[in-house]
């Protein structure tokens, strides 16, 4: 009696058989393989076989099927479509590619993309014999992180998967006012800003592109229509995330001050230049100080930055922001129980 074979073993064997055969195989060949040769009815064994093929296709396998009447009878791998082509990279580019990947995978890697990144790198290294990525290269000295906040990982994975498949997601979302509602969104892009992740997508119920902070989502992100087949939406041609999400360092929109000017004295001017030169206008003065011009800024986000330079900064404009900041500083002193 044939041995019972688990799904992983069955799919590995199926892949091995398809890769080994240059000319393709028919159902009769597969029906002799462990996992498809038990004494259950042929119909159920064939369904099992088709399910396994689907799983392999999701891993990147491209199959050519030939039909005889209504049934598929012959299966062949489309090698040109499903095998990783040789990449014409220079030695330096290979090292850069390796350094980039290792920077994110160092110390076991973290974040939502570490797992697919590792398998991608292993594939590149598997092609080492054909001039791809070397299997052994020097240790990288850079450590980068794709993770931002605990709890966001699973949501990010679900959103990324949905974006790849172009499927709607649904999730419970708590808005700024604290009201929770279920949202159905077509994911367009993911943005990481100020230590957190944001989803930019088309909100089906509101009929517009909206931004959602992942930290405000409650519970899991799920497929809105789990039984749907095929793509449910298209990302508009030419869509750029920045068009829907402010790239301002201290935020923009309702409640943000505009025309902000802050003077930093000579001791810390270079830090501001390191952070913002070429991004925002910086006007240096003869005494070594510098004035940072920001088109927009939320005061709370700005004050977090300014707090790193005790006594070295002064808000010049606009006047309401200056008053706001001074008021906040006084309030903080009062909260400590001391007189301003």
């Amino acid at each position: 009696m044939p041995e019972k074979v688990n799904t992983t073993e069955r799919q590995l064997n199926l892949l091995a058989a398809l890769l080994k055969s240059r000319d393709g195989l028919g159902w009769a060949d597969f029906a002799r393989m462990d996992g498809y040769n038990d004494d259950t009815p042929e119909r159920s064994r064939r369904r099992r076989f088709e399910r396994d093929l689907q799983s392999l296709e999701e891993l990147g396998l491209h199959l050519q099927r030939e039909k005889n009447g209504t049934e598929f009878t012959f299966y062949r791998i489309d090698r040109s479509a499903c095998l990783l082509p040789s990449l014409a990279l220079s030695n330096e580019q290979r090292l850069v590619l390796h350094s980039v990947a290792q920077a994110y995978l160092k110390d076991g890697g973290d974040g939502p993309l570490a797992s697919p990144l590792l398998t991608a790198v292993m594939k590149l290294q598997a092609g080492a014999a054909r001039g791809a990525l070397p299997a052994r290269v020097p240790e990288t000295v850079m450590r980068r992180s794709l993770a931002r906040r605990p709890g966001e990982e699973k949501r990010l994975e679900a959103i990324l998967d949905a974006r790849v498949a172009q499927r709607f997601v649904s999730f419970k979302y708590r808005d700024r006012g604290g009201k929770t509602s279920t949202r159905k969104v077509a994911p367009y892009a993911l943005v990481t800003r100020r230590g957190g992740w944001y989803l930019v997508g088309h909100d089906a119920d509101r009929g517009d592109v909206r931004t959602f902070r992942l930290a405000r989502m409650a519970g899991a992100v799920k497929r809105a229509n789990p039984r749907a087949r095929g793509p449910e939406y298209m990302v508009p041609s030419g869509f750029v995330p920045e068009s829907a999400f402010s790239s301002e360092s201290f935020g923009a929109g309702d409640g943000a001050f505009t025309g902000v000017q802050i003077r930093f004295d000579a001791d810390v001017a270079f830090v501001v230049q390191n952070d913002f030169e070429g991004i925002y206008e910086l006007v240096p003065a003869a005494d070594g100080s510098v004035v940072l011009h920001l088109p927009q800024a939320y005061p709370a986000e700005l004050m977090r930055y300014l707090g790193e330079f005790p006594g070295h900064w002064q808000v010049l404009a606009p006047a309401p922001l200056r008053e706001f900041v001074v008021q906040r500083l006084r309030e903080s002193l009062q909260a400590l129980g001391v007189k301003p």
Partner: protein, 325 residues
């Protein structure tokens, strides 16, 4: 990750790298040597009809951690499957994210790699790649910061002692120090240089944007980075011990924002009171961010502990108010 994908990835890697040492294979495939052996054992069940001995994948291994491993009867796995869309997105994201803080030379290399991927990939991998540029938005970094990061990477790789002009928030002034750099770390939106500081006589994490200038010296070093528990005063930001416990009470008006920001943070508790306020308790590794963080909430935040931090906050607030007098 899908189990089949994980094992196929390993099989393809091993088949394409005959004779690779166990330690190298373990590192390259993100496994411990023990996990590697377990997975290799699992792969030995992989076979094709007619299931003669040479139809099963097998491996041969010498002794010791650095023993070479030879896969046998796995040649049909030697050419890897193309990237899945998720793998394409992950690779593209890593390349683009890295590029957002890379120097000009590295940026050019990354652009060339992305172009090669676009030209070479096909099918769903290519579709994902063509869409990937629009799938993420990257932070903006200045050329000055990119060059500093590049200099530090070079110093770490060549193990060269570096002289830096550094603004210490703790001392409140600029000073020069010689450091032995170990690693550049991107964490929480900032870049840090993890290095041994000759001035302090121990390791430190230096914020790279607070470096005014960096000069590579001719001196080299052979020290290895200290073990994690010895990793220096600020190391706790990444690993290690905190210097104190920060306790801040936030009013009802800002409680939701604090809950969103801090829920799930390591070692952190949030205690909600009946009046709607919330008290945050979290390990304090470095007090400098706290000043800006707490003062941005004005009357809505009060530091309950430690006491010395209340005094430091008061001093800073008075300095800032004086600058606006």
């Amino acid at each position: 990750m899908n189990e089949v994908s994980r094992l196929v990835g390993l099989l393809q890697f091993m088949a394409a790298n005959p004779g690779i040492r166990m330690s190298d294979a373990a590192r390259a495939t993100g496994r411990s040597p023990k996990q590697l052996m377990q997975d290799l054992d699992r792969l030995m069940m992989c076979g094709v009809p007619p299931y003669e001995p040479h139809d099963y994948v097998t491996f041969r291994i010498g002794g010791g951690a650095d023993a070479p491993i030879e896969m046998q009867f796995a040649k049909h796995f030697a050419q890897p499957l193309t990237f899945t869309p998720q793998e394409t997105l992950a690779l593209t994201y890593a390349l683009e994210h890295y590029r957002s803080s890379a120097d000009k030379a590295t940026t050019a290399q990354i652009n060339a790699i992305l172009e090669t991927l676009r030209e070479s990939l096909h099918g769903r991998a290519r579709e994902a790649l063509e869409g990937a540029g629009r799938a993420f938005a990257m932070p903006r970094r200045t050329d000055r910061l990119r060059e500093l990061i590049s200099t530090m990477n070079e110093a770490c790789a060549c193990r060269r002692v570096v002289e830096i002009d550094y603004y210490s928030a703790h001392r409140g002034r600029l000073g020069t120090r010689r450091v032995r750099p170990f690693q550049v770390i991107d964490a929480g939106g900032h870049f840090y240089l993890f290095a041994h500081c000759e001035l302090a006589g121990e390791t430190r994490h230096f914020r790279i944007d607070r470096i005014r200038a960096a000069r590579l010296t001719d001196a080299t070093f052979t020290d290895k980075p200290p073990r994690k528990r010895d990793a220096g005063r600020l190391a706790g930001m990444f690993e290690g011990k905190s210097k104190d416990l920060l306790v801040v009470r936030f009013s009802r008006e800002v409680a939701q924002a604090i809950t969103e920001e801090w829920t799930g943070a390591a070692g952190t508790t949030l205690t909600h009171a009946k009046d709607g306020s919330v008290t945050l308790t979290t390990p304090l590794f470095n007090q400098f961010w706290v000043i800006g963080f707490v003062s941005s909430f004005g009357a809505h935040a009060e530091i309950l502990g430690p006491t010395w931090l209340r005094a430091e906050l008061e001093k800073t607030l008075r300095q800032s108010l004086k600058a606006h007098a």
